[in-house]
Symmetry: C2
Subunit: 398 residues, 2 copies
């Protein structure tokens, strides 16, 4: 067993172990509609002007500004341009052309008079208000010139970014590859959810929790398994995960002080750090490298396992995926709280309508149902033994 | 054309048109790992106690509390219980049983002494600290009793909720069906992104934008199309969308004051409301019912279309899907801004490191590339003609 280290020290160890994943820069090209929630691998320049051609900002009349400077001015209406394919004919001097929003400006025209500022009488239109050159005209490239950067590298793609890519004529985009993650739940007491429970058996919830949390952090699960407390069985799963292309292994269970600690038994001889972090829940933790694969090991208690992922691994995976980090804020605790000096306590909390945060469930690391009703972690610092109702405390959004 | 209505009036019209979708309660059962981001259709009770059996919270020794009340007390070690299948033998009076975290408490034992408070000497253990009855014992059902509510109806499922469902032995969950949405972009000038552009043609970005935004709002696109300004072509698309099971139709384009307004031409004779909302961008809007299908019509300008979805439809779809609403907050504007009195202006903005919000691009509704660099909408109220640098303004997170 190593020494008891701080939360920050462990977070640094994990981040250092995962740094090669952050720096690998692997990219893949996907269709735009599959790219939502992904992150651009490179800066993207528009191949075309946006908009591609000079067009009208309004429904109205295309004119020569100089000819309507002395408005009101009556002009014969010659032609009509819709937002439709084709080149419009040139605007004859001394005339106005009816034009629709988005339609190309006829050569010769240099302003658009909105329909609201005109009066039509048969084949003639009275322009009631003078317009400057360029008014209500969208110049080609006025949103973005061809060759200019449309999106930078590392940009999270949501609908508005995908729209801009489509507007520039793209159908696919190079995005960072998702980190490929393997998940192993360890513990002879575990059975697949849905299987009948014998004496001493519990359904494996860590497997589902970690798989769902990995996906939420922008990574992808390539291998998921459940093993008994048998180091050779665990070794086989690690090897299989490597064969499946895993870049990161996450385990739950088998790292505490008991005599049957399968993860410790496999990894400690290979140079793993196995120790304790000054936090509750989640004290026992380990980090290792197995055949080049970074391995992050969480305790088996379900709350410990889920919190450890959220605190140590999710921030790194989210950064790699370009996702925003979880929000931290200060809130008042709704009722008094006691804590253990020397450990950072992560209580489960729920934000209340009055803005305070209520602690749900106790500190026990088995309270998986209570965790499901929480929306924040309430962080009680190491030096604090008690908080009174109304005291401010840092909370981390789940 | 109807009158000019307020943003709130239009939002109410849209919400009323979509109310049947909110109240339809359609559910489907999906495996836990497919349920992330979905919403529970019904309250869910646990069929089993959580935890299912009385177990140890620590690695240590199971004892009778009364026998260690006068600690230090030395007891012979008899047996060992791991977290593994099977019933442990009863604790013989006057002995201690070695026990692991999560292992079942032997019948007769009523407390666990953590290993840190013990000294082992061969087959004997000295308990150095007295323990109360129940200390470090997790009672069956202490997290949640069998039959109690595990999750309510309408709960968004994230990893911690899925973990709780798995812990109670479930493998699947009934979730609200996603609203099935059809999207049609109208405009003869539109071509599929990636196709060569002829004169007067632009790539259709609204189709991609709305499809991605629908998915982000927790609904599902069942039909997506692009039509020229031809009312019969549009009618055929509406009919096809109904055949595809659409519950909601979204259109872009064809609702303004021009002479070629395909959406207006099709829907106004059927009793649609086609009018203007006192906002910029996004003034021209329409709502209709086509063969029982609610239809929400946005303007064709890409910024107008995306903002209209975000303001009027996304909140309703997100509520149906149980997703959190977009955050609104007050921020200072980084530079002065002018606006049009009588319209609510939605400028595109970016939050800066100092907390202020910077307006990006101009007010033009064609600035699709500028929108892609924004992360908030800056809302300038109808009565405001100008804001000075540092003035507070409401911003809506995109």
């Amino acid at each position: 067993m190593g020494d008891r280290i701080t939360v920050e020290e462990h977070a640094e160890h994990v981040a250092a172990l995962l740094a090669p994943l952050r720096d690998r820069g692997a990219a893949e090209t996907v269709p735009l509609l599959d790219a939502r929630g992904r992150t651009t691998a490179d800066a993207i320049r528009s191949a075309i002007d946006l908009p591609p051609f000079r067009n009208s900002q309004m429904d109205g009349f295309a004119v020569r500004a100089a000819e309507v400077a002395a408005a009101p001015v009556a002009l014969p209406i010659v032609g009509e341009v819709a937002a439709a394919p084709g080149e419009p004919p040139a605007l004859e001097p001394g005339t106005a052309t009816r034009i629709m929003t988005g339609a190309p400006i006829p050569p010769g025209a240099d302003a658009v008079v909105p329909v609201e500022d005109t009066t039509v009488d048969g084949d003639s239109v009275t322009i009631r208000r003078a317009r400057e050159v360029g008014e209500y005209v969208r110049e080609a490239g006025s949103d973005l010139a061809a060759g200019a950067e449309l999106l930078g590298a590392g940009v999270l793609l949501e609908s508005r970014q995908l729209a801009a890519l489509a507007a520039s004529g793209l159908t696919e985009v190079a995005v960072l590859s998702r980190v490929r993650v393997a998940v192993v739940s360890t513990g002879s007491e575990l059975v697949a959810p849905g299987q009948p429970l014998g004496a001493g058996e519990i359904p494996d919830s860590n497997g589902i929790a970690l798989q769902a949390a990995v996906a939420a952090a922008g990574a992808v699960v390539v291998s998921a398994a459940r093993v008994r407390d048998d180091a050779e069985e665990l070794r086989a799963r690690f090897d299989a995960a490597i064969d499946a292309g895993a870049e990161l292994m996450l385990t739950s269970g088998g790292v505490s002080m008991g005599d049957h600690e399968v993860v410790r038994d496999l990894l400690e001889p290979l140079g793993a750090w196995v120790g304790a972090v000054a936090m509750q829940p989640g004290g026992p933790q380990a980090t290792a490298t197995y055949r080049g694969l970074p391995v992050i090991c969480f305790p088996g208690n379900p709350v410990s396992s889920q919190l450890s992922f959220a605190l140590f691994v999710a921030p790194v995976l989210r950064e790699i995926a370009g996702l925003p980090v979880a929000r931290r804020e200060e809130r008042a605790v709704a009722a008094s709280v006691t804590s253990i000096v020397g450990r950072r306590q992560y209580l489960r909390g729920r934000r209340m309508p009055d803005g305070a945060v209520e602690v749900v469930g106790g500190p026990g690391s088995h309270l998986v149902a209570a965790l499901a009703t929480a929306d924040v972690l309430v962080i009680v610092p190491e030096a604090v033994a008690a908080l009174a109702a109304g005291d401010l405390v840092e909370v981390l959004e789940l």
